[in-house]
C-alpha cells in the first residue's frame, strides 16, 4: 500500500478537480447530446460564476455568504443559459453554432474584463471550510472534500430528476420525439431551453466553487472550455454518467498523471483523449437517447 500512501493526496485532488469539472461539463454534455447544440460560450458562463464569487465574497466570508453567492451564480447562470438557448435557437449547423457561441464568449470575456480588470482575482474559501482535516495520516483541505461531496449530491439529484421524475420524463420524451410531445400540448422549445438554462446554472455554480482553487482571470474561460470539451467528448455526449466518468478521468490525468509522469505532463491530457477517441469514438459512456443518436431511444 506504499504506492497508495504516496499518491493518496494526488488521487483525492483528482477527485476534487473531477467534481468541479463534472459540474461545469455536465451542462455542456446535456445541451449537446439532447439538443445537438455546440455551445462554446460554456467557459465564459463558468468564468462569470467565478467573478460573482469575486464580487460578493470578502476575505472573511462565512458559509452563509457563500450560499448566497451560490444562489446568485445559479440565477445568473439560468439567465445566461436561457439567453443562449434563444440566440442559438434558429442556428442548426454546428459550425455556425460554434461561430455564434464563440463570438458571444468573446464579447462576454471583454465585458468581464471591463468590470473586473485584467489582474488575477482571488475567490476566498469560506471561513468555516478553510481548514484541513486528517485523511489517512495526511493533512487535506476541508474545502476540497466539501466540493467532492456537493458534486456527488448534485449529480445524484440530476440523475434522479432525469430518470425518475415527471419533469425528467418530459425532457427525455422531448428529446426522443419532439413531434409527439408537441401533440400533448407541451412546448418543446421551452423544455429544451430549460435544459440549456439548468446546464448553464450548473456551469456557473461550478465556476464559483472552483474559484478558491482556480481563481478568476481573463483567459480562464478558454482553459475551462477546453477541459470541459475534453470531459464531454471522452465521457460521451449527452449522458450524465458519461460526464462523471469523463470528469474523473480528466481530473486524475491532470493530477495523478502529472504526479506520476511529470516529464510528459503537457502531453498527458490530449494524448489520453486521442487514445480514448480512437478506441471508442462515441466516448466511454455515450447517451442511450438524444439528438446525438438520431433522436430515438
Amino acid at each position: 500500500m506504499d504506492w497508495l500512501d504516496a499518491n493518496l493526496l494526488s488521487i483525492l485532488n483528482g477527485l476534487a478537480l473531477a467534481a468541479l469539472l463534472f459540474l461545469i461539463a455536465v451542462g455542456l454534455s446535456l445541451v449537446f447530446g439532447t439538443m445537438d447544440v455546440l455551445n462554446l460560450a460554456h467557459g465564459a458562463v463558468s468564468l462569470t460564476g467565478a467573478y460573482i464569487g469575486v464580487a460578493l465574497l470578502d476575505p472573511d466570508a462565512g458559509a452563509g455568504q457563500f450560499v448566497v453567492a451560490i444562489l446568485a451564480a445559479a440565477a445568473v447562470g439560468l439567465a445566461f443559459g436561457g439567453a443562449l438557448a434563444l440566440l442559438t435557437g434558429g442556428v442548426r449547423d454546428h459550425l455556425r453554432q460554434a461561430l455564434l457561441t464563440l463570438g458571444i464568449a468573446m464579447i462576454a470575456g471583454d465585458i468581464l474584463r471591463q468590470l473586473f480588470g485584467a489582474d488575477v482575482q482571488s475567490v476566498p474559501t469560506p471561513n468555516g471550510l478553510a481548514g484541513s482535516v486528517d485523511v489517512l495520516g495526511k493533512s487535506y483541505p476541508v474545502y476540497r472534500l466539501v466540493v467532492i461531496g456537493l458534486s456527488i449530491v448534485i449529480g445524484v439529484v440530476l440523475y434522479v430528476v432525469l430518470e425518475r421524475t415527471q419533469v425528467g420524463a418530459l425532457v427525455r420524451a422531448t428529446v426522443a420525439d419532439r413531434g409527439m410531445v408537441e401533440t400533448l400540448g407541451v412546448r418543446s422549445n421551452v423544455v429544451l431551453a430549460g435544459v440549456f438554462a439548468v446546464g448553464a446554472a450548473l456551469a456557473s455554480v461550478g465556476g464559483l466553487l472552483a474559484g478558491p482553487v482556480l481563481g478568476a482571470q481573463p483567459g480562464l474561460d478558454n482553459t475551462i472550455l477546453l477541459l470541459a470539451l475534453v470531459v464531454v467528448v471522452v465521457g460521451g455526449l449527452g449522458s450524465i454518467r458519461g460526464a462523471v466518468l469523463g470528469a474523473v478521468l480528466v481530473g486524475e490525468v491532470q493530477t495523478l498523471g502529472v504526479a506520476l509522469f511529470p516529464a510528459y505532463a503537457s502531453f498527458l491530457l490530449f494524448g489520453a483523449m486521442a487514445l480514448v477517441l480512437l478506441l471508442k469514438p462515441g466516448g466511454l459512456l455515450p447517451a442511450r437517447y438524444g439528438a446525438a443518436t438520431g433522436g430515438h431511444a
Binding site: 504516496a6 499518491n7 493526496l9 494526488s10 485532488n13 478537480l17 476575505p59 480588470g117 485584467a118 489582474d119 488575477v120 482575482q121 482571488s122 474559501t125 478553510a130 484541513s132 493533512s139 483541505p141 482553487v213 482556480l214 481563481g215 482571470q217 481573463p218 483567459g219 480562464l220 482553459t223 491532470q254 493530477t255 495523478l256 502529472v258 504526479a259 511529470p262 505532463a265 503537457s266 491530457l269
Partner: protein
C-alpha cells in the same frame, strides 16, 4: 433589383472594397525603398512604447506606462531637453502580436527609440528588427538571459532571470547551513533560467539541493504532487519561480497544504509582486523573495517616488513601474549627450550615460547592457492593513 444587375452590383462592390483596402493601406512612398531612421535635426523626439494593453500581462503594461509617464511629467514632457512625442502600441500576450506591434512602431510610426516589451519571446523576436532599422530598444521588463548581449541597439533596465535567482543563492545557503533546499519552477525559459541562476550561487556557497521539479507552464492547477515531493525530500526550504496567476495559486496552495510552518518558501520576487500579492493576501505572509526593488525601500529617493506615484495613480508602485521609470531616465540622460535625435545617435549615447539615480538605488549598465544593480531580500509582512514586501537587507 433582380437578376444580373444585382450580381453586377455585388461584384462591383467587391472590387471597390478590395481597391479601397489597398488604397487605405497606402501611405506616402512604397515598401521597396530602404527604411531610414527618424527625422534628423528637429527639436523633438519620437518614443515608441511597446507594452501589453491586452492579455495576461496587461496589469504589467499599465504599471509600466504609469512609471514612464510619471518620469516624463516630472520633466515637463521633455527628455534631454527635447519635446517628446509618445506613440503606444499593444504588445499583447505573445510574439504573434508583439513583433508586429514593434514593426509598426519602427516602420510606420518611425520612432527614434523604443521602450517596453514584457514578453521575453517577443524581445528575442525583435532583436534583429531593431538592429536592422537602427532604433535602440530599452527593454523594460523581458528577463530572458540572452535578450541583451552587448549589441548596440538593445539595452535593458529590468533584470535577467538568472540574476534574480543568483542574488538569493548565497543568503539561503548561509541560512540553511547543512540543510537542503528543494527547487521548483514553471517549465519555460524564465523558470529554468531563474532556477539555474539560484543553483549557481547556492552551490558555490556550499548549499545542498534535495531535488527539483518543473511544472507544466500555464496548465498546472494543482501543485500538491510537487509539494508532496518537496516535503518528502527532507528539504527545509523551497526556492521557486512563478509569476502571475500561477504565483497566486501556488502560494495559496503552499499555505493550504500546510507547508508554510516547517519549510520556508523562497522565490524570485515576482512571486509576490504587485497585483499578485493583493490576490494572495494572508497566504503570502512570511514568504521571502529577492528582487531589485520593493516599494518599502527606506531611502529618500524611493520615498519621494512612492509619494509621487501614489498621488498620481492611487496605488503603490511596483518593480515594473520603476523599470519603465528608469528607462525614461536613461533616455533623458542619453538625449542630453546625444548628437541629434536619430536612433543611431541615441544608441551611441546610451553607451556613455554612466550611473542612474533610481528609486531602487544607484545603478548603471554593465557590458552586456543589463543593469548592474543591488538586490534586496524581502519578506511579506502585514503593513498598514494590507500586505507588502518589507525589505530585510540588501543581498551581496
Amino acid at each position: 433589383m433582380p437578376g444580373p444587375s444585382r450580381r453586377r452590383l455585388r461584384r462591383t462592390s467587391l472590387i471597390a472594397l478590395v481597391a479601397a483596402l489597398a488604397l487605405t493601406a497606402a501611405a506616402c512612398g512604397g515598401s521597396l525603398d530602404e527604411e531610414g531612421g527618424g527625422e534628423e535635426g528637429s527639436g523633438s523626439v519620437k518614443v515608441g512604447l511597446a507594452l501589453p494593453a491586452s492579455g495576461v500581462y496587461e496589469p504589467l503594461g499599465v504599471d509600466m506606462t504609469r512609471g514612464f509617464e510619471l518620469y516624463l511629467e516630472e520633466q515637463q514632457g521633455k527628455l534631454g531637453g527635447k519635446e517628446v512625442e509618445v506613440v503606444k502600441a499593444d504588445e499583447g500576450e505573445a510574439p504573434d502580436t508583439g513583433v508586429p506591434a514593434v514593426q509598426k512602431l519602427v516602420t510606420q510610426d518611425k520612432v527614434d527609440a523604443l521602450v517596453g516589451i514584457v514578453n521575453s519571446a517577443t524581445a528575442l523576436g525583435v532583436k534583429d528588427t531593431v538592429s536592422q532599422s537602427k532604433v535602440p530598444l530599452i527593454v523594460a521588463n523581458a528577463g530572458a538571459d540572452e535578450v541583451a548581449d552587448g549589441g548596440d541597439y538593445v539595452w535593458r533596465t529590468s533584470f535577467t532571470n538568472g540574476g534574480v535567482g543568483e542574488a538569493l543563492g548565497g543568503a539561503v545557503a548561509e541560512e540553511l547551513g547543512n540543510e537542503s533546499v528543494y527547487l521548483m519552477a514553471a517549465d519555460y525559459a524564465a523558470g529554468r533560467e531563474s532556477v539555474a541562476g539560484f543553483k549557481k550561487s547556492f552551490e558555490a556557497a556550499g548549499g545542498k539541493i534535495a531535488g527539483e521539479s518543473f511544472t507544466p507552464f500555464g496548465t498546472t492547477t494543482d501543485w500538491q504532487p510537487f509539494l508532496s515531493k518537496a516535503q518528502n525530500s527532507g528539504a527545509k526550504a523551497v526556492y521557486v519561480f512563478y509569476a502571475g496567476g500561477e504565483a497566486v495559486n501556488f502560494v495559496k496552495q503552499y499555505k493550504s497544504f500546510g507547508l508554510g510552518e516547517e519549510i520556508q518558501l523562497y522565490g524570485a520576487g515576482f512571486l509576490t509582486e504587485g497585483g499578485v500579492l493583493a490576490a494572495q493576501g494572508k497566504a503570502a505572509e512570511g514568504v521571502r523573495t529577492s528582487l531589485h526593488y520593493s516599494d518599502q525601500l527606506d531611502t529618500p529617493e524611493n520615498k519621494e517616488f512612492v509619494d509621487a506615484y501614489t498621488k498620481a495613480y492611487d496605488a503603490p508602485p511596483t518593480v515594473y513601474a520603476v523599470q519603465a521609470y528608469d528607462a525614461a531616465a536613461a533616455l533623458d540622460l542619453a538625449l542630453k549627450d546625444a548628437d541629434g535625435t536619430s536612433g543611431e545617435a541615441i544608441a551611441k549615447a546610451l553607451g556613455g550615460i554612466g550611473e542612474i539615480e533610481s528609486p531602487r538605488g544607484t545603478w548603471s549598465f554593465d557590458e552586456d547592457h543589463n543593469p548592474d544593480q543591488p538586490y534586496f531580500l524581502r519578506e511579506v509582512q502585514a503593513v498598514d492593513g494590507g500586505f507588502a514586501n518589507a525589505v530585510l537587507n540588501e543581498l551581496s
